[in-house]
């Protein structure tokens, strides 16, 4: 028993709130997390500053045809032009906006659904839990992508945001389940019992006792959801299930493929959007690894010697 005590002092529970400075410190000192953050922030900046980085023509937006078709990268068109004579650089820069906002938007909806369903089910227990768990498990085993493909087949002209929404509605189960099991653990912990004995009402227990303890889990689930949405939105757009007129990385790839970018060796229409998706995905994954390592010190590499 004493031993447990010792282990616990060794490994303080990591939660954003309690350790903000320490957590940040851990985060800042984690090379993976920092590399990920750096890449991500670069993209966020690109997205935010898109109109300044790649000013749009007065009319027609990033899809406006401004050059000759399939021009290789040069001084004027840094990433070359598409078969339609559109500026790939502009499309990629403005696509960053779309992809990131869809990713973070839908990711946020997902995590909110996860929190609502997961915590309700974990905290309430009983019949509510049974039913919600069933729902979660069902959504878990239903194959996600085919379901989304089928649903988007029914939606009228799904733009990136619509796709994001469809993804949000169908993909919350995994996170909800993780949060639920964590809630179950925390709900049975002594400090929750202590709060009840102190006379705290349920809503306060959920919001002020349970939720803050799951911040790192919530954040990593959220990031996972964002990655998932970005990748899946790109996939669906690529398959032509989205709106080909939108400006997003997936759409760029759709057009590249339609114009036989590889056969015509117009690699510049194909590589940048793909790399952007991969980089953002990779950066978020890195951040998640970082969070994992911070909340579970065992995973850290190069500990000690």
């Amino acid at each position: 028993m004493e031993n447990q005590v010792e282990i616990k002092t060794q490994r303080p529970r990591v939660t954003l709130r309690n350790l903000l400075p320490e957590w940040l410190w851990g985060f800042v000192r984690n090379p993976k997390a920092m590399l990920g953050t750096f890449i991500l922030l670069s993209f966020v900046f690109i997205g935010l500053l898109a109109p300044d980085i790649a000013p749009l023509p007065e009319r027609g937006g990033a899809n406006r045809m401004v050059g000759r078709p399939h021009q290789a990268p040069d001084d004027e068109f840094w990433f070359g032009t598409t078969r339609q004579g559109q500026d790939v650089f502009k499309q990629v820069v403005h696509g960053t906006r779309t992809s990131l906002s869809v990713g973070f938007g839908a990711g946020t909806i997902i995590i909110i659904l996860c929190i609502i369903v997961g915590i309700t089910s974990g905290y309430m227990g009983g019949l509510v839990d049974e039913l919600l768990s069933l729902l979660m498990n069902v959504f878990l085993v239903l194959p996600g992508l085919p379901l989304v493909i089928v649903i988007s087949g029914w939606v009228d002209q799904p733009g990136p945001y619509t796709i994001g929404l469809v993804l949000a509605v169908t993909s919350w189960a995994y996170g909800a389940r993780v949060l639920r099991s964590q809630t179950l653990v925390i709900r049975n912990s002594e400090f929750v019992a202590a709060a009840r004995v102190a006379g705290e009402p349920s809503w306060r227990i959920v919001l002020f006792e349970i939720l803050p303890n799951m911040i790192s889990l919530v954040v990593s689930s959220w990031i996972g959801a964002v990655v998932f949405v970005i990748l899946t939105e790109a996939t669906l757009s690529f398959l032509g299930l989205g709106n080909p007129n939108a400006v997003s990385w997936g759409t760029s790839l759709y057009w590249a493929q339609n114009n036989q970018a590889l056969l015509t060796r117009a690699w510049w229409t194909f590589v940048p959007p793909g790399l952007c998706i991969a980089l953002v995905g990779f950066s978020l994954t890195l951040i998640n690894y970082g969070i994992d390592e911070i909340s579970n010190p065992r995973l850290r590499s190069g500990e000690g010697g």
Partner: protein, 324 residues
């Protein structure tokens, strides 16, 4: 055993939900799918002809619950309706051909990705900071961040088209007859499956590997590992029997749960590689607005995923006595 019975019951419920969802999806959509579906015949065909076609497809007005029971009744008989794009071929017949190819490709690729991921993850954790951990792991996780289709297209273009190492598309050499007794056919099936498989494996590997590595690291900190080492067992035995076997358990549940995603990803690869599986049948049905076929395919994929999940549960029970 009780665990398996419970899981089985759950899958029954999940299957039922999927079936019901499948029924209501088109009915929940905005607009009139039937109208949209038949609009392409309009103008090309006499309205009378369109009307009688509608009837043939079974789009008759009836209360929803009646439609639902008819639907269930038909399902029980294995009748998934009639494909629109392949009229009047039953959906079940359209699917049956491609299902086999998908199961083969996805099944084998997934098992490969999973096992290689498990092995590499084990090694990465066992020899932390060494080659696998510091080199292969980061590469695999970068690859995992790329969209499936992107890698697939590059592979197709470079390895198949430019280098000519692999055939471009299709499940076998179309000059041959489908005949599993024929050596040439079998080897062409293998040859054609390589590249799609490789893509699935490469993109899925990172996730499994990392998961396994982290589980391994947690397991390695357990007392029973220390005890096993103290017992003077060989490293191999400790690594495989004591550590890996325990570390694989959480991955196995994860594996079962993410099967739906995996299959989704593999479908995309099929599309890129002209592989004759469900993926491209599904895409076609979507592009052709072949609702009955879409529903049928979704149902089939779901049922396969459920079956695979159950299979994973069985393995879980075999590996973990606590679940028995």
């Amino acid at each position: 055993m009780r665990f398996l019975v419970r899981r089985f019951l759950f899958y029954l419920v999940a299957a039922y939900v999927a079936i019901t969802l499948n029924f209501f999806l088109p009915r929940l959509m905005v607009g009139d799918p039937v109208q949209v579906m038949f609009s392409k015949f309009q103008g090309r065909m006499d309205p009378r002809a369109v009307e009688s076609l509608k009837e043939t497809f079974g789009f008759v007005d009836a209360p929803v619950h009646e439609q639902y029971f008819t639907y269930l009744k038909h399902l029980v008989k294995g009748d998934l309706g009639i494909s629109l794009t392949n009229f009047p071929v039953p959906v079940s017949e359209v699917i049956s051909g491609s299902l086999e190819w998908t199961l083969r490709l996805v099944g084998i690729a997934t098992i490969f990705a999973f096992s290689i991921g498990m092995i590499l993850g084990t090694i990465a954790a066992w020899r932390r900071g060494k080659f696998v951990d510091t080199l292969i792991l980061p590469i695999a996780s970068i690859l995992a961040a790329f969209p499936y289709f992107w890698i697939a297209m590059l592979a197709l273009y470079y390895l198949a088209h430019i280098q000519g190492w692999f055939p471009i598309g299709h499940g076998y050499n179309l000059r041959l007859k489908e005949d599993w007794g024929d050596r040439a056919y079998v080897s062409s099936v293998i040859e054609h499956g390589m590249l799609p498989m490789l893509t699935v494996v490469i993109t899925a590997l990172g996730g499994w590997m990392l998961g396994m590595r982290n589980n391994m690291i947690n397991v390695l900190a357990e007392d029973y590992i220390t005890l096993a080492q103290a017992k003077g067992l060989s490293d191999r035995r400790v690594m495989l029997v004591y550590a890996a076997r325990n570390a694989i358990l959480p991955s196995l549940t994860g594996f079962a749960m993410s099967l739906g995603f995996v299959i989704g990803g593999a479908l995309i690869v099929e599309i890129v590689f002209a592989y004759p599986g469900m993926g491209f049948t599904l895409l076609n049905s979507v592009n052709g607005r072949d609702y009955p076929l879409m529903q049928g395919i979704f149902l089939m994929i779901t049922l396969s995923v459920l079956a695979a999940n159950f299979f994973a549960d069985v393995i879980y029970v075999l590996l973990d006595p606590r679940a028995r």
